[in-house]
C-alpha cells in the first residue's frame, strides 16, 4: 500500500540551512548535507529544500548544495524558491533534484509549468500554491492564491488554480496555507480537503504543523498524500521517527 509521506522542509539561505536544527550529534547544523543525511537516517520519506536567498550568487550556491546532497543522500529531493525560468529548472534537475517546485512564476508565467512538464515530465513538476482566506466585498470567503510569501494577492481562487496547474502539467501540488503557516496550530484541514478533492494529482499539506496530531488530522480528514513540516522536526520536539510511530499507531499507512 502506498504510504503517506512525511517531508521535512529546510530553508536554505546562501547554501546554509537556516532556522534551528536540534540534532544532538551534528557537527554543523547549518550544513545541508549533514542535515539531509540525518533526516535520511531518521526515515524521512523525502526532503524539500526551499531557497530563500534573493541573490543570483545565492542561487549558484544552491545548485552546488543540491549536487552535494544528491550525491550523498539516497532519497527524493524537491527544490523550490525563486524559480523563474526553464534554465533555473534545468540546472537544478541536472544537479540531482528529483522535482522542482514553482511558486510565483506559475502565476506570472503559467507556460513555465507546461514547459517544465514537457521537458522533465509531470512527475518532476511541482507547483506551490499559497492561499489565504479573503473576504470578498459580497461577504463570501474564498481561499485566494498569494505570491511572494503571502504578500501579494493574485485574484485567483485556490480551488480553480489547483485544477489549472494540474491541467498545465503539474504532477504534485504543495499547498501552504498562509493563514496557518508559522502558527503551529495545525494545518488548514478544510482548505486541504477542498483542494485535494478537486484534483487528481498528489497534494502535500503544508503550513501550521505543531505536533503529530496535526499530521494525523490532515491525513484522516483529507486526501493529502503527504505532509510537509519544518519546525516540529527541526527543534527536536517531535523527531521524524516519533511522528511516524504516532501516525502508524493511529492507523495511517506509514513507512516505518
Amino acid at each position: 500500500m502506498l504510504s503517506k509521506r512525511i517531508i521535512p522542509c529546510l530553508d536554505v539561505d546562501r547554501g546554509r540551512v537556516v532556522k534551528g536544527t536540534n540534532f544532538q550529534d551534528l557537527r554543523d547544523a547549518g550544513d545541508p548535507v549533514e542535515v539531509a543525511r540525518r533526516y535520511e537516517a531518521d526515515g524521512a520519506d523525502e526532503l524539500v529544500f526551499l531557497d530563500i536567498s534573493a541573490s543570483h550568487e545565492g542561487r549558484d550556491i544552491l545548485v552546488e548544495v543540491v549536487k552535494r546532497v544528491a550525491e550523498q543522500v539516497f532519497m527524493p529531493l524537491t527544490v523550490g524558491g525563486g524559480i523563474r525560468t526553464l534554465e533555473d529548472v534545468t540546472r537544478l534537475i541536472q544537479a540531482g533534484a528529483e522535482k522542482v517546485s514553482i511558486n510565483s512564476a506559475a502565476v506570472t508565467d503559467p507556460g513555465l509549468v507546461s514547459a517544465v512538464a514537457k521537458r522533465f515530465g509531470c512527475c518532476a513538476t511541482v507547483v506551490n500554491i499559497d492561499p489565504k482566506r479573503v473576504r470578498k466585498p459580497d461577504g463570501s470567503v474564498i481561499w485566494e492564491v498569494h505570491t511572494q510569501g503571502g504578500r501579494k494577492p493574485t485574484g485567483l481562487n485556490a480551488l480553480d488554480w489547483a485544477i489549472e496547474v494540474e491541467r498545465l502539467g503539474a504532477g504534485e501540488i504543495i499547498l501552504t496555507s498562509m493563514d496557518a503557516d508559522g502558527t503551529r496550530a495545525g494545518y488548514d484541514v478544510e482548505m486541504t480537503k477542498a483542494v485535494a478533492k478537486r484534483v487528481n494529482v498528489p497534494v502535500v499539506a503544508s503550513g501550521g504543523a505543531g505536533n503529530p496530531g496535526h499530521l494525523l488530522a490532515v491525513f484522516r480528514d483529507t486526501k493529502a498524500s503527504a505532509a510537509l513540516a519544518a519546525s516540529i522536526f527541526h527543534y527536536g520536539e517531535f523527531p521524524v521517527p516519533v511522528t511516524k510511530r504516532f501516525l502508524a499507531d493511529h492507523g495511517i499507512c506509514i513507512r516505518i
Binding site: F74, Q94, A95, G96, G171, N200
Partner: protein, 210 residues
C-alpha cells in the same frame, strides 16, 4: 571482456549521478557513459531514465546506444533498467501517442487506468511482493524482502504479455509490474537509487551478479 565493468547509460534523460553514487556507496565502481563503444564493453549495464518515453527512445536511437544496449541484452549479460529504463524494454509505449520501444520484452506500457480516487502520478513509498520470476533459485529480485518499501514516481506502467517475467508486484489501484526479470535482464519501475537502504541492497546485489 576482462573483469567487471559497470556502466550507466547516459542518453540525456535525467541526472545519473545519484545512480552512480548509490553504486559507489556500496563499494562498486560505476562509469556514466554516452559512448556506444564504452557501453558495448560493459559487463554490467544500467539503463536509468526519467521523462517521456518518446524522447527517451528517440535519444537512445539517435545517440547510437540502442544497438549496444540490445546486444548486451541478447548476450544475456547482467542488465538493470530503472523506471523509464524498464519501460523502454517493451515493444510499445502509449505515452503521447504510440511509440516503439526496444522490444526485448513482449508487452505494452500504458497509463494507470482512470479510477475514481486513484491519484496519478503514483508517487511515494510503496511495498512490493514477489512475482513468478522471483521464485527461481538465486533470483536477484528474490533477494528483496516481501513487504519492503521502495520509492516510485510514475504515471505509466508496463504490462508484459508473458506474466511469468514479473519478478516484483506492487499494488496501486490493483496489482501492477514493479519489476521484471528474465535471465540476467532485470528492471524496476521504482528507483532503487532513491530508496535508501532497501534500494542500496538491491543495487549491491545486482553489481555482484555473474
Amino acid at each position: 571482456m576482462s573483469g567487471k565493468r559497470l556502466v550507466i547509460v547516459d542518453y540525456g534523460m535525467g541526472n545519473l549521478r545519484s545512480v552512480q553514487k548509490a553504486f559507489e556507496s556500496q563499494g562498486h565502481a560505476a562509469e556514466v557513459s554516452s559512448s556506444p563503444a564504452q557501453v558495448a564493453s560493459a559487463s554490467h549495464l544500467v539503463l536509468p531514465g526519467v521523462g517521456a518515453f518518446q524522447d527517451a527512445i528517440a535519444n537512445l536511437r539517435a545517440s547510437g546506444l540502442a544497438e549496444p544496449v540490445l546486444e548486451h541484452l541478447r548476450a544475456e549479460r547482467p542488465f538493470l533498467g530503472i523506471c523509464l529504463g524498464l519501460q523502454l524494454l517493451f515493444e510499445r509505449g502509449h505515452e503521447d501517442g504510440t511509440h516503439e520501444g526496444l522490444g526485448f520484452i513482449a508487452g505494452e506500457v500504458v497509463r494507470f487506468a482512470k479510477q475514481p480516487e486513484l491519484i496519478v502520478p503514483h508517487m511515494g513509498w510503496n511495498t512490493v511482493e514477489h512475482g513468478p520470476a522471483a521464485q527461481q533459485p538465486g533470483s536477484l529480485m528474490g533477494s528483496v524482502k516481501p513487504g519492503e518499501y521502495f520509492y516510485f514516481v510514475h504515471s505509466y506502467l508496463a504490462k508484459p504479455t508473458d506474466p511469468s517475467v514479473v519478478s516484483l508486484v506492487c499494488d496501486y489501484g490493483g496489482p501492477f509490474t514493479a519489476a521484471i526479470s528474465r535471465g540476467n535482464c532485470h528492471a524496476t519501475q521504482f528507483h532503487p537509487e532513491k530508496s535508501q537502504g532497501a534500494g542500496a541492497a538491491l543495487l549491491n546485489a545486482f553489481a555482484k551478479l555473474g
